[in-house]
């Protein structure tokens, strides 16, 4: 028997050592290969192995898959797979009535329950009465499935995640060959572990097939997508690919100087693997050395890149200012996390916007871009490279923990179709110049002449001291400083010529409310406004990629709507910028919970706002 659904949200939850991220990844891959649209939300503790069975040790992975175009991993799950009592307790508050709860009963002992502050078992005390509960001893089932592979009891019990994956794969009619192939490769060097995991996976699948409790198999059909070849991609991976594509299009050596930091490290990991395409990576002694080495490489004619998160951004700011002064290309990727200080390293936030825009000494403007989705990280990183090289400037690209670790389908780009980036190195003296003038500028872009060491006749010195506007020599001349400060600002402001006008999505063309976002709030804003439009209400949306310079038509867009709401995962940083720059009374909608914005909550707020705006108009008309 089977039933068809348009969309399902599954949350896998267990101990941080239970392999929940791997299980979620595999289910995602299965869903993606079936052609569903997907969106994922890994959520894990910063501790590598928090004490077993405790609430802080719970790690989860939420996956939303559908037969239509989706933009978020969903607020609440339809199905929760809880591998232990802590995982059940930690996720209970998120479960709407009717949620399917699949729970491994193995660890529901009085001792384990006491560890998480429960006097009675939620399996028997009525806690789960509103849900459809499937109680299984997954641990025991998995152990029995792998008997005969010579595993220790502990290792045998660790295959329970694959048993659960097998069961879910059956329940949702997922293809299994990809996971089997994956396991065969992952454990190629440990044949007994490999065979046991495949056996547990198959046993889980067979268990679903033969057990009456799971009589109904659910089908979620492929989602219609623009034709093309697709893969799934996480934000960090897409960022790494975008950087490689950017350097490749510019014909420059990609040099990454970086220091490991959550949640940005996967970019370092991926690029370190990519020595096979010639990428040079340098794990530095600290954040400062990471960006300094990248700038040194740029000085030598490479494309220097550094990747980090908020605390690392703070450390890099002096070197970024040096890159502004020396006017060299540099791409700085900030994968934002909840701050300040160490904050919540594995949780997401958008609170580095003002740091990116203004967090430097002196007048130090630079271009800032933000990705809106995991796959958009590719385009954003590529664009960051293009601007950095074209304008000889450091560029900050903002991503965040949600985009970094979340995955979605991505239409594989055709690299040949991407236009080249011209570094335009200076190779000889300009006509009539007795010496090389490193600060002679392109009239349109104001980019300075970039000559790299090894170029005969163009020997010159640059540095952090104010430069003469032409020769680049040290200058303390007051007028020269004023001119240089304004020129650097004008150069960055002029990048607006390459910034596309902001597009407003308003099917009605009559919306009074504009919802303006940036970065990863794109998903929740899109999902919430879709729901609002289904109720017949009118709402316009627009999303910024370029935070500096802002699109040229932004002032018009803001003023052509009666009310503007700016949802952000901070305390209103973009709202502050817009108010300051455009004198527009935008409303800030802010949440800082370390999680993506709740769609339901945002929908409720926006609906009330629209109704108030429409009501206000109705009342005015009645008064007439």
């Amino acid at each position: 028997m089977s039933k068809q659904l348009n969309r399902v949200v599954i949350r896998f939850a267990g101990d941080s050592g239970d392999g929940m991220q791997l299980t979620g990844d595999r289910f995602t891959a299965e869903a993606a290969s079936l052609g569903n649209d997907i969106a994922t939300l890994p959520n894990f503790p910063a501790e590598i192995r928090a004490p077993q069975g405790t609430l802080p040790g719970v790690s989860s992975f939420q996956l939303h898959f559908a037969d239509f175009d989706i933009v978020t991993p969903g607020d609440t799950p339809d199905v929760l797979v809880a591998m232990n009592p802590a995982a059940l307790k930690a996720n209970l508050k998120d479960l709407p009535k009717g949620t399917v709860v699949i729970v491994d009963t193995h660890d529901f002992t009085p001792r384990n329950l006491k560890k998480i502050g429960l006097a009675t078992s939620p399996l028997t005390d009525g806690t789960l009465s509103a849900f459809t509960v499937h109680e299984l001893d997954l641990t025991d089932l998995a152990q029995r499935a792998v008997e005969g592979f010579g595993l220790t009891r502990k290792d045998a019990s660790r295959t329970k995640n694959m048993f659960a994956l097998g069961l879910l794969s059956w329940m949702y009619s997922r293809p299994t060959d990809g996971t089997e192939r994956f396991l065969a490769e992952k454990f190629a060097k440990k044949p007994d572990i490999r065979d046991a995991n495949i056996a547990a996976f198959r046993a889980g699948y067979a268990y679903g097939e033969t057990t009456e409790a799971f009589a109904v198999q659910t089908v979620v059909n492929p989602a219609p997508m623009p034709p093309g070849r697709y893969r799934q991609v996480s934000g960090n991976l897409a960022t790494a690919y975008g950087l490689m594509a950017g350097a490749s299009k510019a014909g420059l050596q990609l040099f990454l100087g970086s220091y490991p930091i959550t949640p940005a490290s996967d970019i370092l990991h991926e690029l370190s693997k990519r020595k096979d395409v010639g990428v040079m990576t340098f794990q530095a002694e600290d954040e400062i050395a990471g960006v300094a080495a990248a700038l040194g490489a740029s000085f030598g004619g490479a494309l220097g890149v550094t990747t980090t998160s908020g605390p690392g951004m703070a450390l890099k700011s002096e070197t970024i200012s040096l890159a502004i002064m020396t006017e060299l290309p540099l791409v700085v990727v900030d994968v934002q996390r909840a701050g300040p200080s160490t904050g919540m390293p594995t949780k997401t936030e958008q609170a580095d916007l003002l740091q990116a825009l203004h967090g430097r000494h002196g007048e130090a403007p630079l271009p800032v871009l933000a990705a809106r989705s995991s796959s958009d990280c590719f385009d954003t990183a590529l664009e960051a490279c293009r601007i950095a090289v074209t304008y000889r400037t450091p560029v900050i690209m903002l991503s965040d923990g949600y985009l970094a670790n979340g995955a979605e389908p991505w239409r594989i780009p055709n690299l040949d179709a991407i236009p080249p980036i011209a570094p335009g190195f200076a190779t000889e003296l300009a006509d009539g110049d007795p010496h090389f003038l490193p600060y002679r500028r392109d009239e349109e872009t104001l980019a300075r002449a970039w000559a790299v060491p090894g170029t005969p006749g163009l020997e010159h010195r640059i540095g952090g001291i104010e430069k003469d506007a032409l020769t680049g020599n040290v200058s303390y001349d007051p007028d020269n400083h004023e001119r240089m400060v304004r020129t650097r600002a004008a150069k960055v402001a002029g990048i607006v010529r390459d910034v596309p006008d902001l597009e407003v999505d308003d099917p009605s063309g009559e919306a009074k409310l504009l919802v303006l976002g940036w970065g990863s709030t794109y998903g929740p804003i899109t999902a919430a406004t879709r729901l609002i439009r289904k109720t017949g209400r009118k709402v316009a949306t627009a999303h910024l990629r370029h935070l500096n310079p802002l699109p040229a038509n932004l002032a018009d867009v803001l003023r052509s709507h009666e009310h503007v709401v700016v949802p952000e995962m901070n305390l209103g940083q973009l709202a502050q910028v817009l108010r300051a720059q455009f004198l527009v009374d935008v409303e800030s909608y802010s949440r800082v919970r370390g999680l993506p914005l709740s769609i339901a909550e945002l929908e409720e707020h926006l609906t009330a706002t629209i109704d108030r705006l429409e009501g206000a108009v109705d009342a005015k008309e009645e008064a007439r």
Binding site: L34, M244, I412, P456, R461
Partner: protein
């Protein structure tokens, strides 16, 4: 990890087709150090050495941090970057790694290299990046007008330590040796011949070459090195010559012999059997001997100082290994490989289902 098939520090740097002279290395910028500053002598010697290296001028790059010494790049007519405080070794690491055809020189001071930039210094040495680090040690902060530095003697009275400094100084050579440096040397600003010899050797060394240069600051720490200059120097400088017994002083009346626990000490030559005098060996893999040499300089007011090359050993340079690793794994067609990586192993076609 195999050693790169590379010899000296200048391997890979293109040779100049025409001989250069010192003037070719002099930039058009007016030198703005205080009259009497030791930096003048170092600059002049360096310009001569750079011209004599035989490599193209445009392939020489000077990277400095912040401080008096860090103005150096402006005065050398090559490529250069006057960067930010303490970070020059990190910037140079990125440059040297991505450009094997350059001779990269870091110019730094005792504050720049040992205070704010201490971390970058030790890691550049540990990695053995093919760069040359010239540390101008004047044992004082000059550019910020006279505060004590991490090489100032304990009890130093300065503007920021009116009752005397409380922190024990670094011995720069000991720091470098502790950081696994493969080339460690010391020179004195005023001894052109000896400085030039050490700079040549540093340039030829594959890997990170660390050179401490005693440099007098006539304004804020004048006379700090008087004991190792002028007439007294014969009794205080301990010249190191590879393969030769270490003796110094008038007629070599003093000598270096082994002490307990692997240390060294200075004795009157006449009081020991000649076989007890240490024969200098800069190539010892174990750094203990070079460390013991570095400790002959006491932390307080300068009384005696070995000069010359303490240690010169071969160890693969980080940047060579990095380039070699890439060359080993790099695909024949990187463009095609990149397209294939971006496409990924698990894909599906939309619009065909």
């Amino acid at each position: 990890m195999t050693a790169a098939p590379i010899d000296g520090g200048l391997a890979g740097v293109p040779l100049s087709l025409t001989p250069l002279n010192r003037k070719d290395m002099v930039s058009d910028q007016e030198v703005r150090w205080c009259p009497g500053c030791g930096d003048y002598a170092i600059l002049s010697t360096f310009q001569q050495v750079a011209a004599d290296l035989g490599v193209k001028r445009e392939n020489i790059v000077m990277i400095s941090g912040i401080g008096c010494s860090s103005r150096f790049p402006y005065y050398v007519d090559a490529y250069g970057m006057h960067s930010i405080h303490g970070r020059a070794p990190a910037i140079a690491t990125g440059l040297a790694s991505s450009r094997e055809d350059l001779s990269v020189w870091v110019v730094t001071g005792d504050g720049d290299a040992l205070s704010i930039g201490g971390n970058h210094l030790i890691h550049a040495l540990r990695r053995n990046v093919n760069i040359n680090i010239l540390l101008f040690n004047n044992r004082i902060y000059g550019l910020t007008k006279g505060q004590y530095s991490p090489t100032s003697e304990l009890g130093k009275v300065t503007k920021s330590t009116p009752y005397g400094s409380l922190d024990a100084p670094f011995n720069p050579l000991s720091v470098a040796l502790g950081a696994e440096a493969t080339f460690v040397a010391r020179a004195v600003d005023s001894d052109r011949a000896q400085l030039a010899e050490v700079l040549h050797a540093a340039a030829q060394h594959r890997g990170a070459a660390f050179v401490e240069i005693y440099q007098n600051c006539p304004i804020f720490n004048d006379g700090a090195f008087d004991t190792v200059k002028g007439p007294e120097s014969a009794e205080t400088l301990i010249p190191l010559r590879h393969g030769e017994p270490i003796t110094f002083g008038a007629d070599g009346h003093r000598a270096v012999v082994r002490d307990g626990f692997g240390g060294l000490r200075v004795v009157e030559t006449a009081t020991v059997d000649p076989s007890e005098i240490v024969i200098h060996d800069e190539t010892l893999t174990d750094p203990s001997y070079a460390f013991a040499l570095s400790r002959l300089t006491e932390p307080g007011v300068l009384q005696q100082a070995p000069v010359g090359i303490l240690r010169r050993v071969q160890r693969p340079a980080y940047d060579d290994l990095l380039r070699e690793q890439i060359a080993t794994v790099r695909a024949d067609d990187p463009q095609a490989a990149l397209a294939s990586i971006i496409a990924g192993p698990d894909t599906w076609e939309a619009g065909t289902r």
